[in-house]
Symmetry: C2
Subunit: 586 residues, 2 copies
Amino acid sequence: MQISEKEIKRRHSASHIMTAAVQMLFGKDKVKLGVGPWTEEGFYQDFELPESFSEKDLKKIEKKMRWIVNKNFPIKMQEVDEKTARELHKGDPYKQELIDEIVKNKEPITVAFIGDSLENAISAQLCEGPHLNNTSELGVFKLTKTAGAYWRGDEKNPMLTRIYGVAFENEKELEAYQQKIEEAKKRDHRKLGKELDLFTFSDLVGSGLPLWTPKGTLMRNLIVNKIKRLQSAFDYEEVAIPHITKKELYETSGHWAKFKDELFHVKGKGDTEFVMKPMNCPHHTQIYASRPRSYKELPLRFVETTMVYRDEQAGELLGLSRVRAITQDDGHIFCTQEQIKQELKNIISVIKDFYGSLGMFEKGQYKVSISVRDPQTPEKYLGDEKTWQKAEAILKEIVEEEKLEHEIVPGEAAFYGPKIDFMFKDALGRQWQLATAQLDFVMPERFSLSYIDKDGQKKTPVMIHRAIAGSLERFLSVMIEHFAGAFPFWLSPEQVRILPVSKEQNDYAKEVEQNMKKAGLRAKADLADETLGKRIRSARLQKIPYIAVVGEKEAKENKLTLQDRQDNKETLNTQEAIEKLLKENE
Amino acid sequence: MQISEKEIKRRHSASHIMTAAVQMLFGKDKVKLGVGPWTEEGFYQDFELPESFSEKDLKKIEKKMRWIVNKNFPIKMQEVDEKTARELHKGDPYKQELIDEIVKNKEPITVAFIGDSLENAISAQLCEGPHLNNTSELGVFKLTKTAGAYWRGDEKNPMLTRIYGVAFENEKELEAYQQKIEEAKKRDHRKLGKELDLFTFSDLVGSGLPLWTPKGTLMRNLIVNKIKRLQSAFDYEEVAIPHITKKELYETSGHWAKFKDELFHVKGKGDTEFVMKPMNCPHHTQIYASRPRSYKELPLRFVETTMVYRDEQAGELLGLSRVRAITQDDGHIFCTQEQIKQELKNIISVIKDFYGSLGMFEKGQYKVSISVRDPQTPEKYLGDEKTWQKAEAILKEIVEEEKLEHEIVPGEAAFYGPKIDFMFKDALGRQWQLATAQLDFVMPERFSLSYIDKDGQKKTPVMIHRAIAGSLERFLSVMIEHFAGAFPFWLSPEQVRILPVSKEQNDYAKEVEQNMKKAGLRAKADLADETLGKRIRSARLQKIPYIAVVGEKEAKENKLTLQDRQDNKETLNTQEAIEKLLKENE
C-alpha cells in the first residue's frame, strides 16, 4: 500500500513526540534511544528504559504526548557538527554508534527537535525526517503494544523495548483502523487454521515447519490441481527432484557466493557438502541438460510443486506467513527469444483464470508491477543490452495488449532479467504479491544450457521462472484471512454436510452422502447423537458452504433441503441438488 | 533366493581353489588374503596382489584352477592353535587381524586346506567352511570380473583386489546363468532409463540423487494415482510434512539413540539441530497428536508420497536400486486393536489389486512372509505379551483366509511389532520385497498418542505402517527390468504414437492425436520429416504399446491402423480405436 507523504510525516512525528514524552516521564539521562521509524501500520521507537517500565506506563505516556500536542511546539530539523551530535546523545551507545557511521560515510549530521531552538528543545535526536511543522498537527494517536527487539535485529546485541503506536488525522480513521484490527484478529489464519483443522505445528518438529492435516492437504491439492487444469492447454510437464544437492550446483548458479550463509547445510558421514534447496531452478536446469536439445522441443515447460527451505530467524516466523519449509508451485520454461511473448501471455492467462475463480482479478483488486532496469546503473545487470531492451518492451506490450492495470518500476528488475509481479488486495484491503513471471538471461548461460537451432547453430535458451499461487503457505494464509475461512465452493475441504433430522433418516442421509461422493462432491453425513440445532451449529463453525437437511418428508420423496451460508433454503430432488452443486464446482 | 547347501559348498570351495591358484601363480609370500565368502551370485576372494596383476591374469588363474580340480585334491578343515594359525598367515596383516578377533572372542580357530594334510597343503587359510570334499567335485566355473574393495568395507583401510567368479554343477547351468546375465544387461534399468528418458543424474547435484524427467515423473504419478484409486474405498486421507525436523522428534521416537550416525544432519545459522527425515512415521504421529481424538474417528489413515533421505555410502549407490533420496508411498493407520484385522485385509486387497494389474500376483510369482517373534528371546520385543499373541494370530488367520502363499519367519519381527512382507518375482526370476504392512505397538506409546474410548477411558491406538509400491525408485527399477521397458498400457508414459504415412496426412494425424488426448489417452503424432520406416523404428525403440498408422485411405474414412508391440495390425474407426484403448487403460 502506498502511504502519503502527509501520513509518513504524521507517523514519524508521533514517534518523536512519544520519545519526548518518555524522556519527560523517566528522565532524559535514564533513557537511551534506538531507532524510531514510521511503518506500514504506524510507528515505533526502540528504547533502553529503566527496569521499572511496564506496559501499564503506555497510558501515562499517551497522556504526556497529549500535553505536548496541546502545547503547539514547533518540530524542526537542523544540521549540526559531530561534536554537537555526540554531546546531544552523551552516554547513549546506540546513537553514538549511528553517529560513527554517518561520520565514516562523510554524510551530513541532522537532528530533529521539538521546541523553538535546539538549545530549548524538550527533546532532540539524530534524525533524517520528515516531520510535521508543529506538534498540534498530530491528529489522534494511540500506543498499541510493546515488544522486545534486539539492537539492529541481531540477537547478539542487547534487547531494547519497542513501543508501537498509530496516528491518524481524525477519530473516524482511528476507529476504522481499530475495526480493521478487530476484523483481522477474527480472520487470523493461525486461529482459523486451528478451528478449521487445516494445519498444525509441533514443538518436536520445530517452529516454522507446518504439518498439513488431511483438510489442509486437500486444499493444497485442490489449488495445485486447479492450476494444473488451467494450464493443461499449454503442455506443461511435471518433473520431480530431491530436496538436497551438492553445493557445486549453487557454485555454478552463483547462489553459493551470495547466499551461502542463508542456506541450511547438510552433512552426512562423508565429506560431501550438501545443501537443502532454497529454490528449484538450478535442479531443473540439470533435467534440461540431461540430453542434447533441438529447437523443435522448445519451449520446454517444467513444473513441480515442491518444498524449498529458508533459514529464517526463529523470531521472524509467523504462522504460515513466514515459514522455513515453503511449498512453491514452481515452473521453469526454456524457450527461444522469439517465444518469450507467447509464453508470458500463456502464464498471464492462467493467472487471470485462477485468481478470477477466486473473485480476485477485478478492477481495483489487483495490480501488475513490471520491474525493469534502473537506467542510471546499466552495469548492475547481466545479459546483453539488446535482449534486455527487447524483453522490457515485450513486458510493456503485453500489459497494454491485455489491458492490465499496471505500473512500471525502474530499478526493481533482478540482475538476471526483468519481471512481472501480480499483487492482489484481500478483504481487508491489504495487498499481497502472489503470482510472478521472471525472465532470466543468466542462469542458462552459467549452466551452459543449449539447443541446436534451425540453422544448425548451438544457441542458449532463455529461462522463465513462474509461479501462480507462489508459496502455498503464504497463499493459503491469504485465502484463509481473505475469506475468513468461508472458502469458495471449489476450495472448500468439505462442501456439503448432510444432517438427518432424526435417527430414522440416518440411512437415507448415508445414501445421499454416497451418491454425492460418487458424483465427486466432498459430502459428509453427520449422524452424531446430538440435536439438529447443535449439528447445524457445528457445520456453521466449520464454514461448510452447504448443509443438506433431510427429514421424514425429504426421505420419503428422495429430496433434501439445501441451505447455504446465508441461510437461503431450497428443497430439491437429490439428483437436482447434485447437479446444482456440480455446476457450482466448476 | 534360497541357495542349497550343496551350492554353498561349491561356491565357497571355488573361492579356496581360486586362492590356491593365485598363490601358485604369484607366490604365497607375495599374496595377502582378505575374506573370501560365497554370495547370492557366486563367490569372491579379496587379495593384496603384486602390482603386475591385471584383469588379463584371470584366464591364467582359471587354467591353474582347472589343474587343481583335475588333481582331485581333498579339501579338509582342521582346528588349530593360535600359534599355528599365526604362522600360517605370517606377514599377512588382514588374516592376523581376524585371528586377533577370534582369540579375543575365545572362539575355536579352524583352517581349511587343499591337500592331504595341513603340512602338505597347496593352500590353507583361516576358514569356517563349508566345503566340498574334493576339488574334483567343483563342476564348471568362471572368473567374471575384478574390482577394488576396501578392507572391511571401510574407505580408511587399504584397497584390496576382489576377484569374482561363479561355479555350477554343469555347463548347462553356467550357460543359463550367462544368458540371464546377458538378458539382465539388456534390461538394466540404468541403460533403459537413459534410452527411454525416465530419469537422470547430475554431477552437480550428486550421486544417489535422481532427477525425474517428465516421462519418469509421469510414471511415478501413474503409480501413485493407481494406488490412490485402488484404496479410495478405504478412506485414506493425504497429509503433507516438511522434509526436516528438530532432532527432538527422533529422540522421542527412539531413532536418535539408534541411528543418529546414519542421518543427514542439517544446520542453519541458529543453534537448533535439524535432521532430514529418514522415515515419515514420527512426523505423522504429530498430526494425529494435534488435537484430542475420539474412538469415533478411528481408524485414521494418513497417506503421503514423499521423499526420505538415507546417507548411503557413495560406493554403494546404484542407479535407482540404491539412492540417497527415496520416495515412499507411505501410509500410517491409527486404529484400535479390534480394527487391526480389517485394516490389514484392506491393505492386502490393495496390494492384490495393484500387483494383479501388473500381472505379478500369480501363483508362484509372489510370496508373503510373516515375521513373528523369536520365541527364544521374548525380552527383545516391546509391547505386552497378549497384544503380540493376538497380532501374530491375526496375521496368520488373514493369510489362511486369503489363501496367500506364505511362510512364517520367526525372529524377523521388528522390536515394535510383527509384520507382513510381499515378495515378487521378476521376469528373470529375481525376488524383490516391495509391499509391506507392519504393526507397531511402541511408537504410539512413545509419543503419548491417545483416544477417548466408548467407555470414556483414555487408550493408546495401534499404528500400522504400510507401503504398496514401497520405494518408488526401487519399484521403478524393478518395473523397468521386469518389463524390459515395455510397460503395461496403463503405465506407459506414451501410449500411442500416431504416424502419418506422408505429409498429406499430417493434419489428420494431429486431429487423431487431439481426439485421443481429449479422451484421456497419452497420444502423440510424429510429424517429423523422416521416412515412415524410420519413425516406426523410433516408436519401437521407445517401446510405445501402439502405433497408429494413418495413410490416405484411413484419413479419408476417419480410420487408423493400430499396431501393437507384436505387430498385430487392426484397422479401426478412430472412435472404436479410442474405446478399445480406453478399455485397455482400465
